[in-house]
Symmetry: C2
Subunit: 335 residues, 2 copies
Amino acid sequence: LERALKKIDVIRLLLGKQIQNLPVAHPVQAFAPANIALCKYWGKRERELNLPQTSSLSISLGEKGATTQLAVIEAEADVVFLNDVPVPANTEFYRRLVAFLDLFRNKYYFKVTISSNLPIAAGLATSASGFAAVVLALNKLFQWQVPKETLSIFARLGSGSAARSITTGFVEWQAGRLSDGFDSYAVALPLRWETLCVGLLIFNQAAKKIGSRDAMQQTVATSPFYAAWPALVASDLEQLKIAIMDKNLSKMGFIAESNALAMHATMQAARPAIIYSEPATISAMQQIWQMREAGINVFFTQDAGPNLKLLFEESALLDVLQFFSKLEIVRPFSS
Amino acid sequence: LERALKKIDVIRLLLGKQIQNLPVAHPVQAFAPANIALCKYWGKRERELNLPQTSSLSISLGEKGATTQLAVIEAEADVVFLNDVPVPANTEFYRRLVAFLDLFRNKYYFKVTISSNLPIAAGLATSASGFAAVVLALNKLFQWQVPKETLSIFARLGSGSAARSITTGFVEWQAGRLSDGFDSYAVALPLRWETLCVGLLIFNQAAKKIGSRDAMQQTVATSPFYAAWPALVASDLEQLKIAIMDKNLSKMGFIAESNALAMHATMQAARPAIIYSEPATISAMQQIWQMREAGINVFFTQDAGPNLKLLFEESALLDVLQFFSKLEIVRPFSS
């Protein structure tokens, strides 16, 4: 029997001698976008390496995401700032980040400055952009000569969906089959969709009661409907890629919306049930369905939180803003 | 190949010569309770005879339900009143009721007076109590000498869950296996639970956008999770009966609540999705979960509508009323 690989083994295998690289002399900075899954990642086949049960597909949020600065410091521990606030060493956030940095460092300690222009832990994929930005910054700091796929794998070791935040536009995270996860990384779809808009409908910026890791695990362990999820994703993913290549918003939106509702259905059937929707969530869903009946082509998706993300084209922007005046608009292909 | 049985064939086989019985000379009246399923009926194996995919289990609502008066009249058509209002012949309600009466009559026409003390078509099982009360009234009018199981089968031909409203207390509707449905009828559990309370939490008395028949059919046809529903029901039903025989409210309530949420999860994953919950529904669920965290032993169930039905014992009544002051309280075993 082969010994199961640990994160550190994966990194050593992929970096080889480069793990000895010296850091550049100056601080480095990197940005990674948040990403919104249109076909969701929900459930792991292996927890140590964050290997997913299924492939997934997301759209990166352009300039919305996390920026990370890394500087080597003379100290006995890392110093971490999040949105200009020092992060105490006894927090889960600090521990998780430092454990991740431990995988890559030799003897160095860092000052890590992360700033996010999205609400933290409100189901807006900030941990995805955060870990991806840390990996991109490490790559600059140590000047690894590795392909993008390797950076995606490193980001996955921090947080599954961070694998998709290494690149921009439409991104497929291929589940892969290997137990070392060397084939489980993100690939960008060769396509720009200039008129596409994503609207962030934020009801609640508070951190979630149950994090997505725990919710995922509880669903896989107790939901009677989880067994049907992988086949559903396989079918949705295929249809979704066709819809995207055709730039068919109605098809893309319907699949994304249905896929999100199905993911939440797997959670609702878990025992005990997990329901992220709040009254405002349901109210907005009803509003969106009424808008569609009135001919406005807008769809939603929902992650592990109460907020919704709207999908529509520039031609519907004014109509959409009439109903959701506080919507934060992102144009994923604007730059 | 055997010819599929029609409703009329089932009735002729079960009534035999009694289908020729003369009506008694005076008007008759019968009451049937509404029932709330604790393990839901969701999906048919055969649509003509309303044969269910699975067994189900309900609690009858005591004095809440429908009363039906039947009188033979000299006329060319039935005359129907619902809650003292004449029902026009061009309505779905009239057509469905008359088609049902057609199955049992020779040459007679009826004045049918139905009164319900529950809101119509708001997911409060009024069609169940309505059809059951019609069958009980027909039984009085024609003085059939048939067992209760036969009356349950007749009620099922009108509306599936009406099979359970023929009797009181805890009622199991056995799915049966026969294609004629002669083994698909309700059986009462031999048990009284005097302290049990059911609370009706009614947010919206408006009729539903999509009826439960259509919702059921759309779910069976399109939900990727429906395939897992029958096995879930089999397991829930077994656990539920044990919890009821033990008068263990926590266990009974948890299974009932989880089963209802799972049923709604099958619908949410249908395409297009069916969501009966409204903002007030989610808000009440959150309230109930908070009450449980505070030690108040109360659970909910939800049918094909936004309203919730609460399950608790008399000892929790004052606590429950403090949070839901307009709750309508039913004691299923009070009389």
